[in-house]
Symmetry: C2
Subunit: 178 residues, 2 copies
DNA sequence: GTGCCCATGTAAGTGGTTACATGATTCA
DNA sequence: TGAATCATGTAACCACTTACATGGGCAC
């Protein structure tokens, strides 16, 4: 659903060919977002049609390599997407993607969305803790129960860690706001 | 790719109708796994054809409700799937699903896969820390750099927390092994 | 000149999402 | 009797995956 926007953001960071994008999506850039070269070529074609990106025709005749850059319309589309697309509790990677957009093109005013996610995460953590109290308070647990408890603890730890991490975000997002 | 197995595991825990499954997948049972009722009905139909599950015909005439239970073949399929399907670094939810399978039907010998995931997570954590040293060692960072650093820290925290959590797994998985 | 990497695509299959559809039961 | 919930499905679309395909450039 947001593959084209992930590509746009990657292109904003650095104009690239489809091939380069595929490699960047393989390594450091997108540990939290992946796309195969087939997806990338398809989306690039669509985005050219939509007027979001264009090919830089520097060495057109020399090689077949097509380097894409983001047009103003595409840039505006990224900003619109970041501001308007709602985030669910589990959309952490989507938030990271938006943060990357925010890092490349000015402050986008994401603080509100982050606050909402934090509230949702707190609520879910409370739910998990209630289940913990209810189902795993007993002193002796069977093997199966211990495993189920481990699964629940994975959820609890995930929420806790994410909340700690998210705590520093608002100050980063608000300063320098337009 | 593993939706049918998620359904099988839920059915092993408690025989249910498609409707009940949809509700269970909405709430506590599958905070880490979701399926819509359309998927569930489709997969139930396929699994009946495959001989993995069967309808309990208790109140067939009384209501339209169809309660499904897992047949021995389906149970064996879950075990096979849990043992054989490879896990990538990011397949944490898939691991949780396998742990649930292990909690319902005896020990499946998942320790090896967990060890592999732990090794992979350590490796990725090292990669992240190397990036941290290389790109964010400077004392003063721009707003954009601070955001990119926050994104990286999300990855670092995630790996660290997961590794801590996974540390208690091997002892849970090995004891009582057949 | 053979093999490897660069570079871009097409085609088929599958799974998930969204919308549509129907009818029974239950409660106010 | 009307609305909400129970309960099960069909159909269309779209995205992603996997496999196939092609050809240029470069190094040994």
């Amino acid at each position: 659903m947001s593959t084209p926007h992930a590509i746009l953001i990657a292109l904003l960071e650095k104009p690239s060919s489809g091939y380069d994008l595929a490699r960047r999506f393989d390594r450091a850039i997108a540990y939290f977002w992946q796309a195969t070269h087939q997806q990338i070529y398809r989306e690039l074609g669509r985005m050219v049609d939509a007027g979001w990106v264009a090919v830089i025709e520097e060495d057109a005749a020399a090689t077949r390599k097509k380097v894409y850059r983001v047009l103003p319309v595409g840039r505006e589309e990224v900003a619109r997407w970041a501001r308007e697309t709602p985030l669910g509790v589990d959309d952490r990677n989507l938030l990271l993607l938006k943060l990357r957009a925010d890092a490349v093109i000015g402050p986008l005013g994401l603080a509100g969305q982050v606050q909402q996610m934090i509230a949702d995460a707190r609520e879910r953590l409370d739910t998990y803790r209630a289940i913990e109290q209810r189902d795993f308070g007993a002193s002796s647990l069977t093997r199966g129960q211990q495993l189920q408890y481990a699964i629940l603890k994975a959820g609890i730890r995930t929420q806790e860690t994410w909340l700690e991490w998210a705590d520093e975000l608002p100050s980063l997002l608000e300063e320098g706001e337009q």
